[in-house]
């Protein structure tokens, strides 16, 4: 009850920001588009002809392809633009929590500092999950009802997007506690987000390095930092029903998230306000 109220208050606080309202409106429009504009005339079982905005295409298309096309597109958008927006919208939550006069009220309640930070963290993840699943479940239902094909991989993809956000938000939590600045923590988190594809391609960087040490540092960074690029691929493969070759990027990224969150909690515990 006490813990839940911290989650709820964070949730309510995020909702008061226009970003999430905008996100929900955009999601609704996208869903309406799929619902109204996409007409599938099922020809026989797995085949259909498709019309978008009433424009009939002559091609007969595999239903499975339509599902993968639409849901894959939504997954990619959510993984890139969605996470980007979600990080932006939540970047102020931790610095706001630490404001003098605001944090005091939380600490004066019979809740531990760990509960305060976890409640804040879960509140942020909860509102992002709501936004992401609103679009994912909406699209999924519409597509499944239209085609009769229920692609559960897409839902798993949605869960992975939320998880990726949760890992990155742990990093933003740490940066927020240390720097007390929303914009700064956002920028560094973005940097790491963009660094990931680069690190993935580290084989081609090795040749450019003057010393072996740098190679080892880059290797170390690769294994330590969240592997958003690989997580993106896994999301895609899940959505498209493809086999996942390795889950290792997920486990190491998850370990990073947990470690960073616990480190944040430790620093938060020792802080004076």
């Amino acid at each position: 009850m006490k813990f839940l109220s911290i989650v709820q208050l964070t949730f309510r606080e995020s909702l008061a920001k226009k970003t999430f309202i905008a996100f929900l409106i955009i999601s609704t429009i996208i869903n309406l588009l799929f619902l109204l504009a996409l007409n599938l005339d099922i020809v026989d079982g797995m085949q259909s002809s498709i019309s978008i905005f009433g424009e009939q295409t002559d091609q007969i298309i595999n239903l499975q392809e339509i599902i993968y096309g639409v849901e894959g597109f939504v997954a990619v958008m959510l993984f890139t633009v969605g996470i980007f927006m979600a990080l932006f919208a939540t970047s102020g939550l931790i610095p706001t929590l630490l404001q003098p006069g605001f944090i005091d009220l939380f600490i004066s309640k019979p809740v531990s500092r760990f509960e305060i930070l976890s409640g804040r963290y879960l509140g942020a993840v909860a509102i992002v999950a709501l936004n992401i699943f609103y679009l994912v479940i909406g699209t999924w239902l519409i597509m499944s009802l239209k085609t009769g094909i229920w692609n559960f991989g897409f839902l798993l993809g949605g869960a992975l997007i939320v998880l990726t956000f949760a890992i990155l938000f742990a990093l933003m939590t740490l940066l927020g506690i240390v720097s007390k600045s929303g914009p700064l923590s956002l920028m560094i988190t973005y940097l790491i987000l963009f660094f990931s594809p680069l690190l993935k391609q580290r084989d081609s960087i090795y040749a450019l390095l003057s010393s072996k040490i740098y190679g080892q540092i880059i290797d170390g960074l690769y294994y330590f930092l969240p592997k958003t690029s690989e997580l993106g691929s896994i999301t895609q493969r899940l959505t498209r029903g493809l086999e996942i070759n390795t889950w290792t990027p997920l486990w190491t990224s998850l370990a990073f998230g947990i470690f960073i969150f616990l480190l944040s909690a430790y620093i938060f515990q020792r802080k004076n306000f």
């Binding site: 006490k2 109220s5 208050l9 003098p100 006069g101 605001f102 005091d104 600490i107 306000f273």
Partner: protein
């Protein structure tokens, strides 16, 4: 059992450069209005923050209601009005009391009972559904007070509670605090305003540069030094008599300022003056208020000795 007990509590900031609180030991009895008085920067807020766990002490320890301050469970019985409290602006007073009441561990039925009653007590019931960004400083302060009372605490910490409140509101707050005290609640007030402290406190402690300088009842403080100005036609014997009686004395020409213990001592002094045939031209009472005493203490630079 005391409501508040501290044992040589110290808090240093900036790697020890700022000594906000130094070896501070204090006991506050239950059911009293206790005021901690001191100029800005004395360390009053730091003390409350240490007691509530908002900052961690550098050394020493403390107990609230006989429980270590390290345990958050004691917060169930504690109310706190922060000096510059900040609530989420997009909420109304009612919503704020709802969320923070839940955080304090109140159930739905308690919230339903407590919130309207408290809003009425602090006179915000007509504003309960207005977003607080429209509130004045005084209204925010009253909301903060309602928030501090939500969980029907046994011990309340109020950091500059009448800040930004008009005289009528101040009086209402004083009356509210007194009636809570009469119900057995212990009230710990931080203030730099003597006039406030004087009017409502059962006990006062004076803090200066992180050190406890003096504590006692308001009456104690006022009666410590009753001062009189005495004007004489000749100053010859005055000094001797006062030395003899151990009465502190200051002289400005023919005007002596004496600090006597009480009226009896004053009369004995006058008797001795008259026996020595000194002509008394005037005896002017200069009853020292807590304020004068306070300013004396601050200007005397007491507590700066080491």
């Amino acid at each position: 059992m005391y409501a508040v007990e501290t044992f040589e509590l110290s808090k240093f900031y900036s790697h020890g450069r700022i000594k906000a609180l130094q070896d501070f030991s204090l006991q506050v009895e239950k059911g009293k209005i206790f005021s901690l008085l001191g100029p800005n920067g004395a360390g009053k807020t730091t003390l409350i923050k240490v007691l509530i766990g908002i900052v961690h002490q550098t050394s020493g320890h403390a107990k609230l209601l006989n429980q270590s301050i390290n345990k958050v469970s004691v917060h169930k019985k504690i109310g706190y009005l922060a000096e510059n409290h900040r609530f989420p602006e997009f909420l109304s007073a009612h919503q704020i009391l709802h969320y923070y009441g839940k955080m304090a561990g109140l159930g739905p039925s308690q919230l339903k009972k407590q919130i309207p009653a408290l809003l009425k007590t602090v006179n915000l019931h007509r504003w309960e559904n207005v977003k607080i960004r429209k509130y004045s400083k005084g209204m925010m302060q009253r909301l903060g007070l309602a928030h501090a009372l939500l969980n029907e605490p046994e011990l309340i910490f109020l950091d500059e509670p009448t800040d930004g409140i008009d005289p009528v509101g101040r009086r209402q707050i004083r009356d509210l605090l007194k009636s809570l005290r009469d119900e057995g609640v212990t009230i710990f007030v931080n203030s730099h305003l003597l006039s406030e402290v004087e009017r409502m406190s059962d006990e006062v402690a004076i803090l200066k540069q992180g050190k406890l300088i003096q504590r006692g009842t308001v009456e104690d403080f006022i009666s410590i030094k009753e001062q009189y100005q005495i004007r004489l036609d000749s100053a010859d014997t005055m000094q001797n008599i006062c030395n003899d009686m151990k009465v502190p004395i200051k002289r400005e020409n023919d005007l002596f300022t004496v600090s006597v213990q009480d009226d009896q001592q004053l009369n004995r002094l006058i008797d001795r003056l008259r026996q020595s045939k000194t002509m008394i031209l005037a005896v002017i009472p200069k009853k020292i208020t807590l304020e004068d005493y306070f300013i004396d203490i601050i200007e005397d630079k007491k507590g700066e000795s080491d």
